[in-house]
Amino acid sequence: MWGIIRQKVGTGGISAPSMERIRPAVSAWRCYSSSGKEMTVRDALNSALDEEMSADPKVYVMGEEVGEYQGAYKITKGLLDKYGPERVVDTPITEAGFAGIGVGSAYYGLRPVIEFMTFNFSMQAIDHIINSAAKSNYMSAGQINVPIVFRGPNGAAAGVGAQHSQCFAAWYASCPGLKVLAPYSSEDARGLLKAAIRDPDPVVFLENELLYGESFPVSAEVLDSSFCLPIGKAKIEREGKDVTITAFSKMVGYALKVINLRSIRPLDRATINASVRKTNRLVTVEEGFAQHGVGAEICTSVIEDSFGYLDAPVERISGADVPTPYAANLERMAFPQIEDIVRAAQRACFRSVPMAAAA
């Protein structure tokens, strides 16, 4: 049911010029890729880890079930056999402990990739992510840098309930000293994970469980072991001309004409604002809670930088302001669906008169 959801537009009343037909099938992509190869996000992450571990003996993986279990979500499959238990380290269920050990080893110069089974569990270790990792380079005026990656699934899965469904993008992205990345496609997964591992600063790498099994086309360039994506650059998946829609991670698949943020911190404000200056309208999309969310930041950024260009109020679509319910119908209501994005885009497009217009 999940995956790249495509919906036929054109039923009942949607006649805005901005809403073009969304492609009906994934297979349409195949015609456009040059190598004709596809790769799941899972394999993309696995191959990225493998290549970076092969290239740099200081890179190691640590977390629960990363070794013998082959990874709770099989992201680290095969790595234990290839690199041995010294470099693929199974831990007890003690996030505060192993996150701290990871950061300490990074102080010394190793390049750990710490896996949280989901980012919900990262809260047990968040002191080490923020106070031990993010702030060290600053507090030591450059003496102690922390080349660590914290990675794992973030946000909602399906039916896992309130304690296992939160999106932490806004939490981590508010903290100076961290870099926060959120891949969508396999290309994103490979390029951004490689960039994260090679980066000398702490990186929070937010994956999505429901994307792991999704396949995306990958070019020969993406498959090359030197492939790397820049941190801090968003990708315009397809240029829209009537409204700028921003999204990250799974939500990117919900809209065709969208800016795939890829990087939450640093946020690619330049690309977002340049797009809004052309379309004059903004809708942000995220799974996480609205208050103090990623969308709130983007909306404010656009108001600060491009207010004069806006023809409609900026709008953020986000998860419902509730702990995630279990019942399938309620859960569906708790997260943005394509209809919500469509409605928001329409609102943005039809409000051509400024809200504050007065005689």
Binding site: G97, G100, N137, Y138
Partner: protein, 380 residues
């Protein structure tokens, strides 16, 4: 070359002919290394799941004098910091280490700069022991450019990576998993070096300590957890915070040693022993029985939860510098006057460093935005 035996380091010298051979001014270094002096620690070590090392230790006049000089310098630095704080040149938090000098000095004497030390926020003297200078310390405390963290860290965030000192941490207990991480990296890199992760009796109850200790034991990491038990976690006495204040036993399956932390020789012996142990056997806990004369920090008079008699009692009976002074005098290694001169010299050194630190400017405004990242991606 004579050998003088001491049954407990504080007694008068044997009245024998050879004693006169030992009388020399400190400045002459001719036989200082060749002369062996044997001392005993104040109390024997107590072991948990381990046979403790001997309480009989060999030393030299040179080492004794070095201990005195180093501890006097540390003591002077902390007292001066107290005055600077009261004159508002130091802001925020300032946690002083006077009374605990023997731990910093004894540990340093047992290890190399390739071994790592990590501690909490009472870090000024450890920084000095690792090769940090008085100027860097005072400048950092006063928030100046010449500080070890360029003024951006403050009292709790001193670092000296090239000296194997990884800070300086403000979150109680966090430094213990970090220290186990340093040990992990040392083992991963196949080095024969160890990490000392220092924490207080307050931090000893932190869950993350036990998480890290469990992994250190599982993976045989060369990690030495050192509990600097000064008996008060801020204002809470150990018996009010810990059901079991026998911190050297709290590792359960991990061996431990209880050490008189006011006796620099006991500290040195324990650290030497621990280093050898962990390189072969995985982690160990050292509990240093020590004492801080100041309150928890400069905001704490230190008298609402303990008596002045207790403080002065420790100062009388157990002061680490006094212990070494008596040893030096009883072995005729230096005279009272020479020792007083050393203390005067330390005071002068400290005063000069403070004067120099006061000259150092505050960081440039542009420094507000530097070092957030190593690799900036053109962020605003």
């Amino acid at each position: 070359m004579s050998l003088i035996h001491r049954s407990s380091g504080l007694l008068k010298p044997l009245a024998a002919g050879p004693a006169s051979l030992l009388r020399r001014p400190f400045s002459s270094a001719t036989d200082d290394d060749a002369t062996k002096i044997t001392v005993e620690t104040s109390v024997p070590f107590t072991g948990h799941r381990i046979d403790p090392p001997s309480r009989t230790i060999d030393t030299t006049p040179k080492e004794l004098m070095t201990f005195f000089v180093d501890m006097a310098r540390m003591r002077r630095m902390e007292i001066a910091a107290d005055s600077l704080y009261k004159s508002k040149l130091i802001r925020g938090f300032c946690h002083l280490y006077d009374g605990q000098e023997a731990v910093a000095v004894g540990m340093e004497a047992a290890i190399t700069r390739k071994d790592c030390i990590i501690t909490a926020y009472r870090d000024h003297c450890i920084f000095l022991g690792r090769g940090g200078t008085l100027l860097e310390a005072f400048a950092e405390l006063m928030g100046r450019k010449a500080g070890c963290s360029k003024g951006k860290g403050g009292s709790m965030h001193f670092y000296k990576k090239d000296g194997g000192f990884y800070g300086g941490h403000g979150i109680v207990g966090a430094q213990v998993p970090l220290g186990c991480g340093l040990a992990f990296a040392q083992k991963y890199s196949k080095e024969d070096h160890v990490t000392f992760a220092l924490y207080g009796d307050g931090a000893a109850n932190q869950g993350q300590l036990f998480e890290a200790l469990n992994m250190a034991a599982l993976w045989d990491l060369p990690a030495i957890l050192v509990c600097e038990n000064n008996h008060y976690g801020m204002g809470t006495a150990e018996w009010r915070a810990a059901k079991s204040p026998a911190y050297y036993k709290r590792g359960d399956y991990v061996p431990g040693l209880k050490v008189d932390g006011m006796d620099v020789f006991a500290v040195k012996q324990a650290c030497k022993f621990a280093k050898e142990h962990v390189l072969k056997n995985g982690p160990i806990i050292l509990e240093m029985d020590t004492y801080r004369y100041h309150g928890h920090s400069m905001s704490d008079p230190g008298s609402t939860y303990r008596t002045r008699d207790e403080i002065s009692g420790v100062r009388q009976e157990r002061d680490p510098i006094e212990r070494i002074r008596k040893l030096i005098l009883s072995h005729d290694i230096a005279s009272e006057k020479e020792l007083k001169d050393i203390e005067k010299k330390a005071r002068k050194e400290v005063d000069e460093a403070i004067a120099q630190a006061k000259e150092s400017p505050m960081p440039e405004p542009s420094e507000l935005f530097t070092n957030v990242y190593v690799k900036d991606h053109g962020v605003e």
